[in-house]
């Protein structure tokens, strides 16, 4: 039985959640640990922390967030952003994260995936891929730096290579849809999900709960990632799961 996961994503900089998180009756919306605990209580299946500054000065701050989260929150969580070397991955995992997510550094030096997988196992390595449809519409290209830097790499080919190198999961973001609230790029999601054997998390574009259902039913995703629809108290994880369940998607009950 495949059970779809609902995964809120928290953008963190200098130890604080950014991008305006506004939870009803939460005293300090900027504290990642407090938010993580809230999502755990709500029934989130996993969490992703994205360290969006990821300067080396910030590294110890993030490690501290990871340690505090691991002592308070007993669901799996992934940390991404600024993991450039095996040492960075080791620090994050030793502090209590379950998985690390690599993106730019893996494109620049694919061997990084092999190194982390060899040391900690494939289940620890998430390869995050930001993909954008090519101008001629024939496929998708990998972009770096939040969609600003084209790489010339075909997204499907890169994802296949990443899995061969030891990525145990793919976090797939459509740069065409990210921030639009128009829903996942279903065609992209399905193309990736149907071509690899590891779990794929769909990301980018969620504006309604129906989009989460569509990501799993039409896109074949193993999990769905969203930020704003949960952060602003528009919807709860329970509402998301109720709709998914009503439309035949198996989820962990809240």
């Amino acid at each position: 039985m495949e059970v779809a996961r609902v995964i809120p994503c928290l953008d963190v900089t200098n130890g604080r959640v950014v991008k305006g998180v506004n939870f009803v009756d939460l005293r300090d919306a900027g504290d990642p640990v407090e938010l993580a605990a809230r999502y755990d209580l709500q029934g989130a299946d996993e969490l992703v922390f994205l360290d969006i500054t990821a300067s080396s000065d910030n590294r110890n701050t993030m490690i501290h967030v990871v340690e505090r989260t691991a002592a308070e929150v007993f669901i799996p969580f992934t940390v991404g952003g600024g993991i450039r070397a095996l040492e960075d991955a080791r620090g994050i995992l030793r502090a209590g994260a379950d998985k690390v997510s690599v993106n730019t550094s893996a494109v620049e030096r694919p061997q990084l995936i092999n190194e982390i997988a060899a040391e900690f196992g494939v289940q620890c390595v998430v390869c995050a891929v930001d993909a954008k449809r090519t101008a001629d519409g024939s496929g998708w290209e990998v972009f770096l730096h939040g969609g600003r830097t084209p790489t010339g790499k075909n997204a499907l080919e890169w994802i296949t290579e990443a899995v061969q190198r030891g990525a145990g999961e793919i976090l797939l973001t459509s740069m065409d849809r990210d921030g639009t609230r128009e829903g996942f790029d279903i065609e992209l999601t399905r193309a990736v999900c149907d071509s690899v054997g590891v779990p794929v998390i769909a990301s980018g574009g969620v504006g309604s709960l129906q989009h989460l259902v569509d990501g799993v039913v039409q896109g074949h995703a193993s999990g769905v990632l969203a930020a704003s629809i949960f952060h602003f108290g528009e919807h709860t994880i329970a509402e998301a799961k109720a709709l998914m369940s009503a439309q035949g998607v198996v989820v962990r009950p809240v």
């Binding site: 039985m1 495949e2 007993f74 209590g96 196992g121 289940q123």
Partner: protein, 205 residues
């Protein structure tokens, strides 16, 4: 209630602190340790594990903790294996041919078959096959978090106390006298997982 001392064996791989932290939350004085003396004094011993079977066995042997496992198992004190820590208790694994497991429980660890994604990296429902003190006060079908591509197949199927359905029925929990082991991560399984760990801690008191 006094907090029983539980030794969480630390042989330097991956994220072992989560198990220790969750045991502390569940009422134990749990310590990450590679000190055989502390493991001997502990009321219970936990063997966690993540990553590849062979790498974990090598690390366990390099940390000279193999005998600590055998001693703890033989002492009749509560002993718990988690994830690869469960798989290592078996005879061998197809993941790492030629690497001997601990063989505390006879059987092999096989690749998950069927038309499913590997790893199984998700929450799944436990099917309790045999009542066990570990399941006390848990819901009828607890939900727990799995991350694995390989699955234990005991020679004696009566040691299997819970399974989960993923392509086929997989071994989720085994019990052999004082030894209990879970394929899933109770320390990452929210309230049901913490309750299960609390039951283990209670058995150590």
């Amino acid at each position: 209630m006094t907090q029983p001392l539980i030794a969480v064996l630390d042989y330097g791989i991956g994220n072992l602190s989560s198990a220790q932290k969750a045991l502390v939350r569940s009422g134990a004085d749990a310590r990450l340790t590679r000190d055989p003396g502390l493991a001997r004094d502990a009321a219970g011993v936990v063997l966690p594990g993540v990553g590849a079977f062979g790498a974990c066995m090598d690390a366990l042997r390099a940390a000279q903790l193999e005998d600590v496992v055998y001693e703890s198992v033989a002492s009749q004190r509560p002993f718990m294996g988690i994830c690869v820590g469960m798989q290592m208790l078996f005879t061998s694994s197809v993941e790492s041919p030629g690497v001997a497991g601990l063989d505390v429980i006879h059987g092999t660890v096989e690749l998950i078959e069927g038309n499913v994604r590997r790893p199984q990296m998700q929450w799944n429902e436990l099917h309790i096959e045999n009542e066990d003190p570990l399941f006390k006060a848990l819901p009828k079908t607890p939900w727990v978090y799995f991350v694995h591509s390989y699955s234990a197949v005991p020679k004696d199927s009566s040691v299997v106390v819970a399974t989960c359905a993923y392509g086929q029925n997989l071994t989720a929990v085994v019990r052999q006298k004082n030894v209990v082991a879970t394929q899933f991560h109770p320390e990452k399984s929210a309230k049901d997982g913490l309750k299960l760990l609390h039951n283990f801690v209670s058995a150590c008191s």
